[in-house]
């Protein structure tokens, strides 16, 4: 079956993030000059304007900052997944990320709930992050 959802179009600056997910690693950009961690990946550090960057492995843990439960498919590819929960998660590295929840019931959702990242290989080329109960 062909994959019918929206897919990312990585650039040379963002490709390592997606390559990391395929290896079940959550990689974040870290400024090689001042050490600030940033997300989403982008060319320049907003603290020191350096374009020198290294990629670090995130701890893979986090806590819920907010969420939404989607009941309407704005794109036909997600129709079969309804309803699905999208989490906004604070990572201990100081940035946030967005991913779907798996195995977290609606009544358990609360600000501060600990979660951990997992990996969902949706195609041979694309692995998406998801969050599970910690």
């Amino acid at each position: 079956m062909s994959y019918d959802k929206l897919v990312p179009s990585p650039t040379p600056e963002t490709q390592p993030f997606w390559d990391g997910l395929k290896e079940e690693r959550l990689l974040l950009q870290k400024c090689s000059d001042c050490g600030k961690v940033r997300h989403y990946p982008r060319p320049m550090c907003d603290a020191c304007y350096s374009m020198n960057v290294e990629w670090i492995d995130a701890a893979g843990t986090g806590t819920i900052h907010s969420w939404t439960i989607t009941h309407y498919a704005f794109h036909p590819g997600w129709k079969g997944d309804l309803p699905y929960t999208l989490l906004t998660v604070d990572l201990p590295e100081g940035v946030r990320m967005n991913a779907q929840a798996r195995g977290i019931p609606e009544e358990a959702l609360r600000v501060g709930l600990p979660v951990k990242v997992a990996f969902d290989a949706v195609t041979d080329e694309l692995t998406l992050p998801i969050f599970e109960p910690a």
């Binding site: 959802k5 989403y40 989607t70 704005f74 967005n98 694309l126």
Partner: protein, 382 residues
């Protein structure tokens, strides 16, 4: 530093009939609304010497071609989504104040209902590059889904409820029922809102704005020209735009419950020399009920976290403490990206609105868009 206070006045406003279903083009709506605004001012199309059309629509060439403008001196767009229309007021005042233009036309035409719907067009927009790559492939595609975590966070921090959001939808619908040109006229109760289907929790169908076909336009003129035109001018007293931290990726924004408007509002109030207590009518960009409530806080009508209580008990109605969206807004009149909010505030301050706030002399209009950009203009009857 000089100020744009009273550097321009709204002299003409125009709309088309608002629809949900058409075979017309967006350009024809934009030209019709523009012509209506120009005629409302008592001008001819060839008097227009500046253009700030809404993005993704008609361009200067369209107006020169269709209106036969011989000496266009300025054209630009303000790429801020739903904040563009009000931000264009600041841009228009700047070019008028610089002596470049006398009459600047702001305009919008769209087939938001009959043309491309919202869920399919966002990933391609350059300002959404980051969320297009890092959020949309996860299933977070449409504004309702991207804004819902802001509303959820506000609810968790401050105890805001869905019934409080319903108050905004219900009051706005009441105002739409008083209009001849509003697409949603059926009565709505808080229970109707609570029974409407969930779109992206906590936002229900009746928390969401419409997708509409039509056009709206505004003419802004130099003050010395404005006095001689057909209608009583409405003076711009204060205007500003504001861009939030992490402007497109809401996920990364330090405070999910604060919008770009929070940076713009103090500048506009200071320029106008008034405070929120002085405002008699407010047209607040209402793509979603929650965004209205959040802007009321960011404008300073109440403290952060108190918006839910502020909007209760019909407070936003014609006889409430702050009449809001007296035309029915994007929620119930039509989604004209806030150009219809400027049209309505102008009519309120002229005293010619269909749901008129008695003797309103000072009012405010906001724009909100592109995931958090904000704009605000404070205007006074001239």
């Amino acid at each position: 530093m000089s100020s744009l206070r009273e550097a321009g006045a709204i002299t003409g406003v125009g709309e088309t009939l608002y629809l949900r279903g058409t075979d017309r083009t967006a350009l024809s709506f934009q030209l019709e609304a523009s012509l209506n605004a120009i005629r409302d001012a008592g001008l001819e199309p060839t008097d227009i010497d500046g253009l700030i059309p809404y993005g993704h629509g008609a361009v200067a060439e369209d107006f020169i071609t269709n209106f036969g403008i011989k000496d266009l001196r300025f054209s630009a767009t303000t790429p801020m989504g739903g904040a563009s229309a009000v931000a264009s007021i600041q841009c228009a005042l700047a070019v008028i104040d610089a002596g470049i233009c006398n009459h600047v036309l702001l305009s919008l035409g769209r087939t938001g209902y009959s043309g491309g719907r919202i869920g399919t067009r966002v990933q391609q927009m350059p300002q959404f590059k980051l969320i297009g790559e890092f959020e949309m492939p996860l299933g977070a595609i449409a504004p309702a889904q991207l804004y819902a975590p802001m509303a959820r966070r506000h609810m968790e921090l401050y105890g805001t409820t869905s019934r409080q959001l319903a108050e905004i939808a219900v009051t706005t619908r009441q105002h739409a029922q008083m209009q001849t040109n509003a697409t949603m006229q059926r009565p709505m109760t808080i229970e109707d809102h609570q029974a409407s289907r969930m779109i992206s929790d906590p936002l229900r169908l009746l928390d969401c704005s419409l997708e509409s076909d039509g056009g709206a336009a505004v003419v802004i003129s130099a003050p010395d020209r404005a006095r001689d035109l057909r209608k009583r001018p409405v003076m711009v007293m204060g205007v500003a735009e504001g861009h939030p931290d992490s402007p497109s990726a809401i996920t990364q924004r330090p405070d999910l419950t604060t919008l770009g408007l929070a940076k713009a509002a103090p500048k506009a109030f200071a320029m106008a020399g008034v405070s929120p207590d002085d405002i008699e009518v407010a047209e607040i960009y209402d793509c979603f009920t929650y965004i209205v409530m959040c802007q009321l806080e960011d404008l300073g009508f109440c403290k952060k976290g108190e918006g839910g209580g502020f909007v209760e008990n019909g407070a936003l109605g014609l006889n409430g403490r702050l009449p809001v969206n007296t035309h029915g807004g994007l929620l119930s009149q039509a989604h004209m990206a806030g150009m219809n909010h400027i049209v309505e505030l102008t009519r309120q301050l002229r005293g010619e609105a269909e749901a008129q706030v008695t003797d309103a002399e000072l009012g405010l209009v906001t724009g909100y868009g592109d995931m958090g950009d904000g704009s605000v203009a404070i205007m006074r009857r001239g």
